[in-house]
Symmetry: D2
Subunit: 149 residues, 4 copies
């Protein structure tokens, strides 16, 4: 859990409904692993169709997963009618994205009425269950229709 | 063209060969639009399978396209035996990624023996041919096997 | 000049008045070299009191100069009553900050009612007048009190 | 402490010797608060000579402090003869830099022979001892003369 209260009791429904509309997430095989206020983890299996030139997962795919995790972490803290868009993100690729499964966790660092800062992290898990951190993200989200809070 | 000379006469072959190995680029429908030393443009048609929650192209897909364009701009300036990996990138999403076609241009800003800085830009082109800049990137690439230069 | 119209006719006065309040700019010896709507250049002479461990200007000082240039480029396009704060920035240090004079240019990339994206660049000029780009920045500014536009 | 071993037993001496050469740190009044392998905290008192237009500490000064903390965190893990330069950093300014004292902590996220990724955080402490996180950083350092490891 993060240190922040949910924006409304229906946060989980709102996150799942929006995630279901992101066809890009379906294309890369991503699913919601867990979600709580301000903290969202997405899961993606390795796929040979998402590689870079060495056969590892493309940095852009890893970043996309982390970006969505951050966006939904931010959305979990907003008023019901709000929506979230990515303003910008920065990602460091720390190790080759080699693994069987990838877990991307987005966490709200500083929630705001209009701007929310998040951190993201992507872990690769290999066949033996060993995990390696492959990416670290620092991002900014804008809240659309933030409501009267 | 950028201001930098090609790393070797075979730079175009090397870029095309590496790009062909990036299955992630095929999955998003990207192709090489143009390439010269230090400057690479990739093209991607809109696809309903790459969207975020409003039906626009996902920020992560736009960024992936720009990241690959930057990486190949860097690779075009290296020695023949070298390879390029993304160390990190930062991207600002300037407008919704709405359009029929997307052109991502990567340009080398500062080539180095081991580290190369690049800028990237993604333009959306709509049905009427009007273009909008949707993303701006600033990135760092590491050169593996940089050779004796 | 940038491609954007001034936010109000008094933009130059507003920028100069705000800049005069930034004591950090006086401490590093920075002055306004030129300003037009969406485009601001600051000048800073080399000072032995602003160095890192090799005697070059500290990366943080170079970045501070670029950050202020970006902020004032953004402020030049706002309504009269607005103010600007930095949300975040990313800077690549491209070459050692060695030189007699440093010119930092901030340019608005995408102005918005509440968020403005900017690019910054810092050039070092040596004793012979030769110039080298030492830093490239990509930043996001928030507009406070944006007015009715 | 971080999870990483010191690069050599003399790491503390090396960090202090390099820090003493950074005149920019003296100009902003920064001192070393604590240092252990991969983890460095710098302290800076508020000074009226380091402000932005509202009287808070300039974002660039806050970032400079975090950048130095990250650089010395990286240096603490290198071989004795190595040096560290900032390749790039990204910083989010999370709250106004209002306070009596500022503590910047740099932490190594992923040490490498030639490239080290770090995170930085700056805390403001007010007259009553209450603390607020004012900045979060994600940065890349290059190791010069990394040695034979």
């Amino acid at each position: 859990m993060s240190d922040f209260p949910a924006g409304d009791p229906g946060f989980e429904y709102r996150v799942r409904a929006s995630f279901a509309l992101q066809t890009a997430m379906q294309t890369i095989g991503a699913t919601i692993e867990s979600l709580s206020p301000g903290l969202v983890t997405l899961r993606m299996p390795f796929s040979a169709s998402l590689s870079q030139q060495h056969g590892y997962v493309h940095a852009g795919v890893i970043s996309m997963l982390a970006d969505s995790a951050c966006g939904y972490a931010a959305l979990s803290l907003t008023a019901p009618e709000a929506d979230v868009l990515t303003v910008e993100y920065k990602v460091n690729l720390l190790n080759p994205a080699r693994g069987r499964t990838f877990l991307a966790t987005g966490r709200v660092l500083r929630p705001g009425r209009r701007l929310t800062a998040c951190t993201g992290e992507v872990i690769a898990i290999d066949e033996d269950g060993a995990s390696t951190c492959v990416a670290s993200m620092l991002s900014t989200m804008v809240i659309l229709n933030p409501g009267a809070r």
